[in-house]
C-alpha cells in the first residue's frame, strides 16, 4: 500500500512536470506581445526592449522555462505583469475562496443528491422515481448563467433573502461570508445534483438485485436496516469516486458561476489573467488547476480502495 502510494506520488510529479511544460509552451505561443500589451500602442522600441529585458522575455525559451519552474517550486511565483503584485498570495487567496465554494457546494449537493438517488432507486419505476429523475435532469440541462440569473431574480430581488453580489473581501469573517456563498453554491449544486442522484439511483438498483441483499433479508433484517447496512455502502462506491474526480472541476472550473455572482474564485482570476495577457499569472493559475485535478484523481482512486476491500492497490495479478 505504501509502495503503491509512493509510485502514485512519483507518477503525480511526472504528470505535473509534463503539464507545466505544456502550459508554459502554450502561453508563449499565444499571439501578442506582452510588452506591447503592457505599455500600449504608442510605446517606443527602446521602452519595449527594456521591459522585455526586465521581465526576462529576451532570454532563450528553455532558460525562461527553467527559471519559471524553479521559481514556482521554491515558492517564488513572480510578480503579475498587470497588477504589479506578487502572484502567490493572490492565487492562494483566490484558491481559498474556491475551496470554500466547493466545500459549500458539496455540503449541499452530496446529502441531497444521495437522498434523492436512494429514494429513486428504492422506488424504481414508480411515480416518485420518475419525478426525481425528470426534475433533476431538467435542472442540470439549464446552463449555470440561466439558473444563476433566475436564482438572483428570485432570492435577491423578489424575496430579498440573499445578496446578489458575492464579491467577498479577504478580511471578511466566515459567518458573514456564508450568505454570500449560498447562491453560487446552490447554482453549482443544481449542476451536480443530477449526476449524483442518477449514479446513486443506478447503484442502489443494481445492488438491490444482488444475491447478498436476499441473504440479508433472509436474516430477518428490516428493509431499512438492509438498505442502510448492506446496500448503501456498495451502491455509493461509484458515486463517491465520481464526486472525488469532479472535485477538480468544482474547485477550478466554476468560471461561469463565479462570473455570474462576481465571486472572487480561481476561475475569475483565470479569465482576468487571459484578459490582461498576464502570462505569469495565467501560468500560475493553470499550474494550480493541474495540481488540483491530479490530486483529486489520486484521491478518488485511494478512496475507492479504502471503501472496497476487493481492490488491492499495487498487487494486480495476471
Amino acid at each position: 500500500m505504501i509502495q503503491y502510494l509512493l509510485r502514485r506520488l512519483i507518477l503525480l510529479g511526472g504528470t505535473i512536470l509534463i503539464s507545466s511544460l505544456i502550459i508554459f509552451l502554450i502561453c508563449r505561443l499565444l499571439p501578442g506581445d506582452v510588452a506591447r500589451v503592457l505599455l500600449g500602442r504608442e510605446a517606443g522600441e527602446a521602452a519595449l526592449a527594456a521591459l522585455r529585458a526586465e521581465l526576462g522575455l529576451d532570454q532563450p525559451l528553455p532558460l525562461q522555462y527553467l527559471n519559471w519552474l524553479i521559481g514556482f517550486v521554491s515558492g517564488d511565483w513572480g510578480i503579475a505583469y498587470s497588477t504589479r503584485q506578487p502572484i502567490r498570495p493572490l492565487v492562494l487567496e483566490r484558491l481559498t475562496n474556491s475551496l470554500l465554494l466547493a466545500g459549500a457546494t458539496l455540503m449541499l449537493s452530496l446529502p441531497l443528491g444521495i437522498a434523492l438517488g436512494v429514494w429513486a432507486g428504492w422506488r424504481a419505476g414508480k411515480l416518485d422515481d420518475t419525478l426525481i429523475s425528470v426534475s433533476t435532469l431538467a435542472v442540470t440541462g439549464l446552463p449555470e448563467f440561466v439558473t444563476g440569473l433566475l436564482l438572483i431574480d428570485l432570492f435577491a430581488f423578489r424575496l430579498r433573502w440573499l445578496p446578489a453580489n458575492s464579491s467577498i473581501r479577504p478580511d471578511t469573517p466566515f459567518f458573514e461570508i456564508l450568505p454570500q456563498l449560498l447562491l453560487p453554491a446552490i447554482t453549482a449544486t443544481l449542476v451536480l445534483l443530477a449526476y449524483i442522484a442518477r449514479l446513486t439511483r443506478a447503484g442502489v438498483i443494481s445492488e438491490l438485485e444482488q444475491e447478498y441483499t436476499r441473504t440479508a433479508l433472509l436474516k430477518g433484517l428490516s428493509p431499512l436496516t438492509m438498505l442502510r447496512r448492506h446496500v448503501l455502502r456498495n451502491a455509493l462506491l461509484p458515486t463517491i469516486t465520481v464526486v472525488a474526480i469532479s472535485l477538480g472541476w468544482l474547485i477550478s472550473g466554476l468560471i461561469v458561476v463565479e462570473n455570474v455572482y462576481n465571486y472572487p474564485g480561481i476561475g475569475r482570476l483565470l479569465t482576468f489573467a487571459i484578459d490582461r495577457r498576464d502570462l505569469l499569472l495565467l501560468q500560475a493559475v493553470a499550474m494550480v488547476t493541474v495540481v488540483i485535478f491530479a490530486v483529486a484523481n489520486l484521491l478518488a482512486d485511494l478512496m475507492y480502495a479504502l471503501l472496497d476491500p476487493r481492490i488491492r492497490l499495487g498487487s494486480e495479478e495476471r
Binding site: 447478498y212 441473504t215 440479508a216 433472509l218 436474516k219 430477518g220 455502502r233 472496497d308 476491500p309
Partner: protein
C-alpha cells in the same frame, strides 16, 4: 405419522415478463417432515429454484405466488405480515444458495455478516459465530471472521453460508444447488458436512439439484420436476430403481455409467427441449418429447396419481414405462480401443508460467518475479483416431494445456509437434493447413458464437478460410454440416439467439468440424449442458468420430463422462500430469491418491482431501499434491519429486508409494465399499 413441518398446497408461481404473467411453477403440492431430506431434481428451466424461493417467501420482485398455500408447522406463510415473516426468516427458514460469493456482502467482513445473522447481544453472538464456524470444520475461525468473502476459497465461502443457515434451530432448510460452483473433491466434503448437520439439527430439508448422483446420496425422497410441474415423487431408492414416469426414466438413462462405452452403447437422450413457460402443450407437458405419448396425452393433462402409498406419478401410461435401467453387460474392451493409431501430435515439457506483478523494491533488489506455474512440464502424445480425456479440478492447468496446444497461449518453454513438424507457439504464425488440422470447441456456446452472424455464415467462414472453398461451394456444404450435428437444414438462416444452449453447442461443434480437422480440442464442451442434452452431444461426438476419424482431446472435470468417452486419460494436478494411461487401467481401480479422490468423491465413503489453500505455498521440489494427499507415506513427498512408475500397457503413475502398495490399498478399499 407425524405432522409434516412443511406443507405446500397447489402452489402456483408466476413471473411478470413485460405485460404478461408466466407461470413457472404450477400446482405443486408436497410435504416434508422433520429431519427429512426431499430432493428436487430437474433440468434448467424446470422451475425448481423458483419453487424453493417461493417456499421461503423470498421471490424476486417480479415473481408472485398466484395460488396455493405454504404451511410451516401449521402456520400459513403466504399471508404473513412483514414483521411476522421477518421473525420466521430470522429463526426458522434458511437458504444455502448456489453461488456463495454472490450471496455474501463483498464489502463486509465474514464475522460481521455472521453476527448479524445470529442476532441478539453482540458478545454472545460473536462467541456463537466462532462456534458455528468450528462446527462447519473451518480450521481457523478467528481468521475467517476477519476475512472478506473474496479472500476465502469457494469451499470456505460455502461453509460460511452453511454456518449462517444452520446456526440455532432452523425448521426448514432449502439447499439450492449448494455445490454446483465447487470442484468435485470440495463438493464431496460439503455434502458430507450438510448430511452431518442435517442429521444433528433435524430441519425439514429441500435439496434442489440437477445432479442425480448427489440427490441419490443425500435425499430420502425425491421429486422430479419438469416444466414447472412435479411429474414424479417417490422414495429415492424406488425412484431410481423403478421410475414410473418416462421423463425420470429418460433422465436416468441419459447418464453415462460405469461399464458404458461410447463405441458400444449410445446413451439414451430425450428428444426436443423443455417447453418455455407460456408455450406449454395442452395435454401432458412432457408429451412432445415422450416416446409413449399418444392422442390422449396430447389432449388430456394427467394428474399426479398415487400408484403406491409413497410413489406418485403424473403419467397416463406409467405401467408401460420401461424398467430396464440395468446396465448392459460390460463388453470386453474392444480390440480397436487398444489399438494405437499413428502418433499425431506430441507435446514435450510444456511449461507456462504466469508472473505476478512485482513490487518496485523487489525488482531493485534483484528478486525473481513471483510466478504461478500453470503448466509445469507436461508431456503428451495424441494418437490418430483416439480420444484423450484430460481431467482435473479447476486450476489444474487443463485449459491452459489446450490453449497452448492450439496456440492461443504461448508456452513459456517446451514444444508442440504436429506430425513430427514443430508447431509455432503463436496461432498467428501457423500455416493454414496447421490451423485446419487443429480446432477447438469452448465450454460456453453462448459466448463462442458471434450473435450477429447467422448459423450459415458462422459455418461458411472456416469452409472458406481454411477449406479453400468459394462462397457458393461453402453455402452448399452447410446443410451437410448441420445434418452431421443433427440440426434441421432451415437453421442456416437463424441467429444464435434463436437457439437453445444444446443447439448452440452443436453449431460450435459443426463449425469446428467444418474444415475437416484431424484433432478437436473440447474444453468442458458438455459441462454447461443438461444431462439429456449432454447425452445427445456425447452420442454425436461418438458418431462423428466413427464417421470422420477425427481425434478428440476431451477436457472435463466429470469422470463419468471421461470413462464413457475417452480411450486414454491424463489426470492433472497443479499443472502436472500425475497419472496417465488407457482409461480402464487408470480409473478401475484408481491408483494415484488424487485420481482416487476424484473418483470416489461421489461416494459417501470415498477418500476426502484437505481443502486447497488458495495461496498455499507448494513444496519447492516435492510432489505438488503432497499438502492435500491423504495417503502420503511421509516426508519424502515434501522434498523429492515423485518418480514415474510404469504399470504396463502405457499406464504411468507419478507417486512415491510403490505400485504394489497402491494396488493393495485399492483392493482393501474395494472390499470396504
Amino acid at each position: 405419522m407425524t405432522i409434516p413441518v412443511l406443507t405446500v398446497n397447489n402452489l402456483t408461481v408466476a413471473y411478470r415478463v413485460g405485460q404478461q404473467e408466466l407461470a413457472v411453477v404450477r400446482e405443486v403440492s408436497l410435504a416434508v417432515h422433520e429431519g427429512e431430506i426431499l430432493g428436487i431434481v430437474g433440468e434448467s428451466g424446470s422451475g425448481k429454484s423458483t419453487l424453493g424461493l417461493a417456499i421461503l417467501q423470498a421471490l424476486p420482485s417480479t415473481g408472485r405466488i398466484c395460488a396455493g398455500q405454504v404451511f410451516l408447522d401449521g402456520v400459513e406463510l403466504t399471508g404473513l405480515s412483514g414483521s411476522a415473516r421477518r421473525a420466521l426468516w430470522a429463526n426458522s427458514l434458511r437458504l444455502v444458495p448456489q453461488n456463495p460469493l454472490a450471496a455474501l456482502n463483498p464489502t463486509m467482513r465474514i464475522g460481521e455478516q455472521l453476527i448479524e445473522a445470529i442476532g441478539g447481544d453482540r458478545t454472545t453472538a460473536t462467541a456463537q459465530a466462532i462456534n458455528v464456524l468450528k462446527r462447519v470444520h473451518i480450521p481457523d475461525p478467528a481468521r475467517v471472521m476477519r476475512s472478506y468473502p473474496h479472500e476465502l476459497s469457494g469451499g470456505m465461502q460455502q461453509r460460511v453460508m452453511i454456518a449462517m443457515a444452520l446456526h440455532g434451530t432452523p425448521r426448514l432448510l432449502v439447499l439450492d444447488e449448494p455445490t454446483t460452483s465447487l470442484d468435485v473433491t470440495t463438493e464431496a466434503a460439503v455434502i458430507d458436512l450438510l448430511a452431518e448437520l442435517i442429521a444433528e439439527k433435524q430441519p425439514a430439508t429441500i435439496f434442489i439439484s440437477h445432479n442425480l448422483g448427489l440427490v441419490a446420496r443425500l435425499a430420502t425422497r425425491t421429486a422430479v420436476m419438469y416444466a414447472g410441474e412435479l411429474v414424479e415423487v417417490a422414495p429415492t431408492m424406488s425412484l431410481f430403481a423403478q421410475p414410473r414416469h418416462p421423463y425420470t426414466q429418460g433422465l436416468l438413462q441419459s447418464l453415462p455409467r460405469p461399464g458404458l462405452r461410447y463405441d458400444h452403447h449410445p446413451l439414451h437422450s430425450i428428444n426436443g427441449i423443455i417447453p418455455a413457460p407460456g408455450a406449454l402443450p395442452a395435454g401432458c407437458v412432457f408429451a412432445p418429447r415422450c416416446s409413449l405419448a399418444d392422442e390422449r396425452c396430447r389432449c388430456e393433462r394427467p394428474s399426479l396419481i398415487a400408484i403406491t402409498e409413497h410413489h406418485l406419478t403424473r403419467c397416463h401410461y406409467w405401467q408401460q414405462v420401461p424398467q430396464s435401467t440395468s446396465l448392459p453387460s460390460v463388453a470386453a474392451p474392444s480390440a480397436s480401443s487398444n489399438d494405437n493409431g499413428d502418433v499425431f501430435l506430441t507435446a514435450h515439457q510444456l511449461t507456462k508460467t504466469i508472473s505476478r506483478r512485482q513490487s518496485l523494491f523487489d525488482k531493485l533488489r534483484g528478486q525473481p518475479a513471483p510466478v504461478v506455474k500453470a503448466l509445469a512440464g507436461v508431456d503428451l502424445t495424441l494418437h490418430r483416431n483416439r480420444i484423450l480425456g484430460v481431467v482435473g479440478e479447476s486450476g489444474s492447468g487443463k485449459t491452459t494445456l489446450a490453449r497452448c496446444l492450439i496456440g492461443l497461449s504461448e508456452p513459456s518453454s517446451g514444444t508442440v509437434e504436429l506430425l513430427d513438424m514443430p508447431l509455432a507457439p503463436n496461432i498467428q504464425r501457423r500455416s493454414r493447413e496447421q490451423l485446419r488440422r487443429l480446432q477447438m470447441v469452448l465450454q460456453n456456446p453462448q459466448e463462442a458464437l458471434n450473435p450477429a452472424l447467422t448459423i450459415g455464415e458462422a459455418l461458411m467462414r472456416p469452409l472458406i478460410r481454411l477449406g479453400g472453398m468459394d462462397r457458393q461451394a461453402a453455402r452448399q456444404r452447410v446443410p451437410e454440416l448441420l445434418r452431421l450435428v443433427k440440426l434441421p437444414p432451415d437453421y442456416i438462416d437463424r441467429r444464435p439467439a434463436q437457439l437453445s444452449g444444446g443447439e448452440k453447442q452443436r453449431v460450435a461443434i459443426a463449425r469446428a468440424l467444418a474444415a475437416t480437422p484431424d484433432l478437436l480440442l473440447l474444453d468442458e464442451a458438455v459441462s454447461a449442458l443438461d444431462v439429456s442434452v449432454q447425452a445427445a452431444v456425447l452420442n454425436l461426438l461418438a458418431e462423428v468420430k466413427e464417421r470422420t476419424g477425427v481425434s478428440y482431446l476431451f477436457i472435463t472435470h466429470d469422470l463419468a463422462v471421461v470413462s464413457y468417452l475417452a480411450d486414454d486419460v491424463v489426470v492433472m494436478y497443479r499443472g502436472q500430469i500425475v497419472e496417465s494411461g488407457p482409461v480402464q487401467a487408470v480409473l478401475a481401480p484408481p491408483l494415484h491418491p488424487y485420481t482416487e479422490a476424484l473418483l470416489t468423491a461421489a461416494s459417501a465413503r470415498g477418500i476426502r482431501l484437505r481443502e486447497a489453500e488458495e495461496s498455499g505455498s507448494l513444496p519447492e521440489n516435492g510432489c505438488p499434491f503432497y499438502p492435500r494427499c491423504p495417503r502420503t507415506p511421509g516426508n519424502i513427498c515434501a522434498t523429492t519429486p515423485p518418480p514415474w512408475r510404469d504399470a504396463g500397457n502405457g499406464h504411468r503413475i507419478r507417486c512415491h508409494i510403490p505400485l504394489e502398495e497402491l494396488q493393495i490399498i485399492q483392493r482393501s478399499v474395494l472390499i470396504e465399499l
